[in-house]
């Protein structure tokens, strides 16, 4: 008997926790909840888009060229970003988890590589547009608000933009580290195969 056979024998003596009567029902419930959450998410996104568009109309932004442009750019870039993230999430959920490991990993790598385009090209452009839109609104803010409130908006916006940049940066870092991990795993195996 080889050393590995002994290991295998010992392995067979491991205790694995048993399942209870209702666990399979919990899984069905969880699955239904996931579906419900996805639907709620879609509704929330739809309402967000609608509220932003209605707000745009409500403030009659189209009456003032600069305000129209500023608010339009801000709302447009925000909606675009939300849409891109939403479709990326949907795309990821459709990755075939029931394919073989090599194929699935390949598709995951492809997915995260495509996301790099979003992270390094689309996101900076949208983020920049959002800030440009805000800057375009500043003269009308200055005109219609008290100097104290205007200063408050100016300072708080800087913090909000920094927090947003940090949040997006963290998310990007996480995804890039996942991609690195996936690539490393596949490289290790390729070198083993040679």
């Amino acid at each position: 008997m080889s050393n590995f056979d002994i290991i295998k024998q010992e392995w067979a003596t491991r205790k694995t926790p048993a399942t209870s009567e209702k666990e399979w029902k919990d899984i069905l419930d969880k699955s239904k909840n996931i579906h419900k959450k996805q639907q709620i998410g879609q509704v929330v996104l739809g309402i967000t888009a609608l509220v932003l568009i209605l707000f745009f109309i409500y403030v009659s932004a189209y009456k003032f060229a600069t305000v129209f442009l500023g608010l339009g750019i801000m709302i447009g870039s925000l909606l675009l970003r939300i849409g891109i993230e939403f479709f990326a999430m949907v795309k990821k959920s459709y990755l075939p988890v029931d394919e073989d490991m090599k194929m699935y990993n390949g598709k995951l790598i492809k997915y995260y590589r495509q996301r790099k385009v979003t992270h390094f090209i689309v996101t900076p452009i949208l983020f920049g547009s959002y800030i440009v839109g805000f800057i375009l609104l500043l003269p009308s803010f200055k005109e219609s608000l008290s100097s104290g409130f205007y200063t408050y908006i100016l300072i708080s916006s800087c913090f909000i933009f920094m927090a947003l940049a940090l949040l997006i940066g963290t998310q990007i870092k996480k995804e890039l580290s996942l991609l690195r991990e996936l690539k490393r795993g596949s490289l290790e195996q390729n070198s083993e195969n040679q």
Partner: protein, 161 residues
């Protein structure tokens, strides 16, 4: 209703092998393994309508298990944090448990694909089936297994890779 009954049967038949494999991925941490098992069967339920029967049902479920577990494991924070807490909370572990812990550590030192191959081998999954789960040839599995077995044996006997 019959779909749910079918699922119940699938769950009960495949729970043990899925749990065993998940335990291997999370160094024997029952709490984490249960989490993963639930995640796996949620995906089994969601993808069941797409199961075409091109592979055995057990092979298909193993594929979902492997992909789901590895995906969760990549979320380093998720695993490390919970595992550290779990390991800290068990100061009085028996000799047998220490031995298993060492096995788990040696298995987890392997790259993801090799880790999967050895875990499936330890659970007595036929090599032909392992090849279908991983997506490599039977011959490649055989060659690879020979090397991994040696590595694992060395590691368990306190030697280096």
């Amino acid at each position: 209703m019959s779909k749910e009954k079918d699922f119940q049967k699938i769950y009960e038949t495949n729970y043990q092998p899925v749990m065993s494999l998940c335990l291997g991925y999370v160094k024997g941490n029952t709490f984490l393994a249960k989490d993963l098992v639930q995640e796996v069967f949620v995906k089994v339920w969601q993808h069941l309508p797409h199961f075409r029967g091109q592979a055995k049902l057990s092979t298909w479920i193993y594929r979902i298990t492997v992909n789901t577990c590895l995906q969760e494991l990549r979320k380093k924070k998720y695993v490390d944090l919970k595992m550290d807490i779990a390991n800290e909370s068990s100061p009085n572990i028996s000799e047998t448990e220490k031995q298993f812990q060492q096995m788990y550590n040696c298995i987890n030192a392997l790259p993801p694909e090799n880790k999967t191959i050895i875990l499936l081998e330890l659970d007595n999954v036929p090599q032909q089936e392992i090849a279908v789960i991983i997506g490599i040839s039977h011959a490649a599995v055989r060659t690879r297994l020979h090397r991994i077995k040696e590595q694992l044996t060395k590691c368990v006997n306190h030697e280096q890779f």
